[in-house]
Amino acid sequence: MTVEIAGQPAADGLAVAVPARTRVRQAMRHNSLRAGVVIVVVIAVLVLAAPLLTSVNPDTQNPAQTFLPPSPHHLMGTDSFGRDLFSRVLHGGQYTLGASALVVLIGGTIGTLLGVIAGYFGGAVGYLVMRFVDLLLAFPGILLALAVAAILGPGLLNGVFAVAVVLVPAYARVMEGATVEVRHLPYVDAAVGLGSGAWHVIWRHVIPGIRSNVIVMTTSWLGIAALWIAALGFIGLGVQPPTPEWGAILNDGENYLTIAWWISVFPGIFLALFVVGVNLIGDGLRDELDPALNRF
């Protein structure tokens, strides 16, 4: 299938000029990449089109229609408040996916910048930045996210920030390594030798050089971010009721699993598929973008 990204500059870290269209077509031959893209696109379309697909307000309670099983009228059944789960799961995805994207954007940007600065300048700056990163890395990720969320208090944006904090050291560590590698490539040395300023070199030569790392990191962390955002929602530290969010809906159904499986199962399926899809894309992109793997 053709995908919208055709026509845009292909994401690659190589200085070889290959037409974008060709690269996308090549990439799409990769089975897992194809499967991942299909899954993620289908979920994203369903979630973004939620207001068109259902006219039911996801928060409207109805005491007369609690615990209804899936039926043509309520495709995914209703929960303990009589709310329509189809509407809740689709609208909930906007929060889960939107928050995950925001997490990766914030955490990834800060982490990448820190990593690039540490890797490019090295010395005392690099040492200080990387020891700070080590400090953050010493905490298991979810624990750090929980601690930050507990300090900030419940709420979706606080949850985003809590998870983003975990991504910063992960990105910084990888990007520092990649930057050190790129920093000593001849074309970077050449740019430096021609008198380009540090920020110019970073922006024009180093960041494009580590772009494939950023893309692969982002796809793998996007899934983890979605899981953690849902985890915070599940334990009540994410969005606050009655706002639907996959983790929060999972929690709504947890106490009724044996009598109303549909409350937890549908958001669970969406979350699981999304994470699998994103990981498939990540795997595929790594295969496609890693020059070492490509050549053989």
Partner: protein, 531 residues
């Protein structure tokens, strides 16, 4: 996990407080057929891991029912909260209301062989009041009556710093169960792992987070007359298996691993009714209610508080949060408490039109679906403890009721420490919770100035005066009158939103009979039999 509040040492007459959710309708333990076995083991699916089993130091409501089977108390509280003889056969109160004298039963022995007498009671009071014990609930139940003296071998006198009417009923709570003085002396801090009482069951073992095992006390021959049974229990052994997950608990009943489960969620209580026996064990106190914050905008406005009272459809809230299994509660005290006044129940019927009318009359105007007054929006915050499933559900159901009349409501789920902090600071409009106790002096904790639990942030000299009078009035009918007036005031001022009765929903096998509870709602298995 169930939320519980530990009592601050300074707070006066605290009774057991646990913030829990439980459930439902009513039926009694009646089943038929079969021969009661005398070697039967009763396995109970229990919801909350004990903090400690020591009655003098526990802060948890769910320890009470375990202890009531091991320890006898001076008085026995019947399920309708009447104080009747137990270890004390009779008692008298001095005219000034400051001295209670109890005549004790002869021939009672602790499970370790120590004889029971006036000295044992004194040893217990000394133990509870000793600073090193760090007693919470038990110390609160004694109130200002912190010394006891043995006036003869079998009479004991409790001396109170000021008249204290709640003492008699509170002596019937298992937290004041009489422990063996020998055990107190011998085990000290580890008393919670070595319970020795005079009750129908003796302690066998406690495996933290797993189980508590009790076995029949074969010497038991001094059951409270009001219980209507004599001699040792029919059940040989009780195993309380701690299963915190409610579905797993129900599952253990369905698979036959346990014969009784407690704290059954409403939806299961409803669906299991046809194939099991059920008992909605009424937990006395103030039921499930929500203090309404009278000192923070917008609920500092009486009209807003009263509008909230009218706007909430309790029936719908209970239906949504608990599958409709609980009876609604419309007064500060649950039925059966001294001072319960059924006439208050009609004060705030569900009437959204009246709510709108009150707000309009008070100068609020509705523009674009939101109420505003002097440029400020009517926006409420309902907090809920996130670890107890029922509270966030109640909060959302209330939210929906209030949104229907155009109030803006946000629900915030908080872990216990954050929730306590926001209650103390008054950073909420209302929050659902429960209060458990056997005496109406509970109002002292919730509605007098400076109290830890004054989460309505409301003070009223007239109300304080009434509550103070209630504490020192020993005449029961005069006391009841005082609490009726106090409740009238609380309801008029709309600082307490009663929601539903607090009940522990028990579901058990039809082969189990004789399940009952002592006053206050503590499950009692002395009369239980398995066929």
């Amino acid at each position: 996990m169930r939320f519980r509040i530990r009592r601050l040492p300074a707070a006066a007459a605290l009774v057991a407080v646990t913030l829990i959710a439980t459930a439902c309708a009513s039926s009694t333990a009646g089943a038929s057929g079969g021969q009661a076995s005398t070697s039967a083991t009763l396995t109970v699916g229990w919801a909350e891991p004990p903090d400690t089993l020591n009655p003098a130091t526990t802060g948890a409501r769910d320890v009470g029912p375990i202890d009531v089977n091991v320890f006898d108390t001076l008085v026995w509280l019947t399920p309708t909260l009447k104080a009747t003889p137990d270890l004390a056969t009779k008692w008298s109160v001095s005219p000034d209301g400051k001295t209670y004298t109890f005549t004790l039963r002869h021939g009672v022995k602790f499970q370790d062989g120590t004889p029971f007498n006036a000295q044992s009671v004194v040893a217990n009071v000394d133990y509870i009041t000793a600073k090193s014990t760090q007693s919470t609930i038990a110390l609160g139940l004694l109130g200002p009556c912190t010394t006891a003296t043995a006036t003869s071998a079998y009479t004991v006198a409790f001396h109170c710093a000021k008249p204290y009417a709640p003492l008699l009923d509170q002596l019937g709570e298992p937290y004041l169960g009489i422990q063996s003085p020998a055990a107190i002396a011998r085990y000290g801090k580890n008393l919670g792992e070595h319970l020795v009482g005079t009750g129908p069951f003796k302690f066998v073992s406690y495996t933290p987070n797993q189980s508590v095992v009790l076995a029949r006390n074969p010497a038991y021959d001094w059951a409270p007359p009001a219980v209507g049974q004599n001699g040792p229990s029919k059940i040989a052994k009780i195993v309380f298996n701690i299963v915190t997950n409610s579905q797993a608990r129900v599952g253990s009943l369905q698979s036959g691993q346990s014969q009784l489960v407690q704290e059954t969620p409403g939806v299961y209580y409803k669906s299991l009714a046809s194939s099991y026996s059920e008992l909605a064990d009424p937990i006395s106190g103030m039921g499930i209610f929500a203090p309404i914050n009278a000192s923070t905008f917008p609920t500092n406005d009486l009209a807003v508080r009263q509008a909230i009272m009218y706007a909430i459809n309790k029936k719908s809230v209970i239906q949504l949060a608990d599958s409709g299994v609980f009876p609604a509660q419309d007064t500060p005290f649950s039925q059966g408490m001294l001072g319960y006044d059924s006439s208050l129940a009609n004060m705030y019927p569900y009437d959204p039109a009246k709510a709108t009318q009150l707000l309009t009359a008070d100068g609020w105007s509705k523009t674009g679906g939101t109420w505003t007054k002097d440029g400020k929006k009517l926006a409420l915050t309902i907090t809920a403890i996130s670890t107890v499933p029922e509270y966030p559900l109640i909060a959302q159901a209330i939210q929906s009721s209030l949104q229907a009349v155009g109030m803006q409501v946000s629900v915030v789920q908080q872990a216990e420490p954050a929730w306590l902090a926001s209650n103390l600071a008054g950073n909420m409009s209302l929050t659902p919770l429960q209060y458990i106790g056997v005496d109406p002096d509970a109002l002292h904790l919730w509605f007098t100035p400076g109290q830890y639990y004054n989460w309505s942030h409301y003070t009223n000299p007239q109300l304080t005066k009434l509550i103070d009078e209630g504490q020192v009035t020993t005449d029961q009918s005069a006391r009841a009158k005082i609490y009726e007036q106090a409740q009238q005031l609380i309801m008029q001022e709309a600082v307490d939103l009663p929601l539903h009765l607090n009940e522990d929903l028990l579901v058990y096998s039809k082969s189990l009979t004789g399940v009952t509870y002592s006053g206050g709602g503590f499950e009692y298995f002395y009369k239980a039999a398995l066929s």
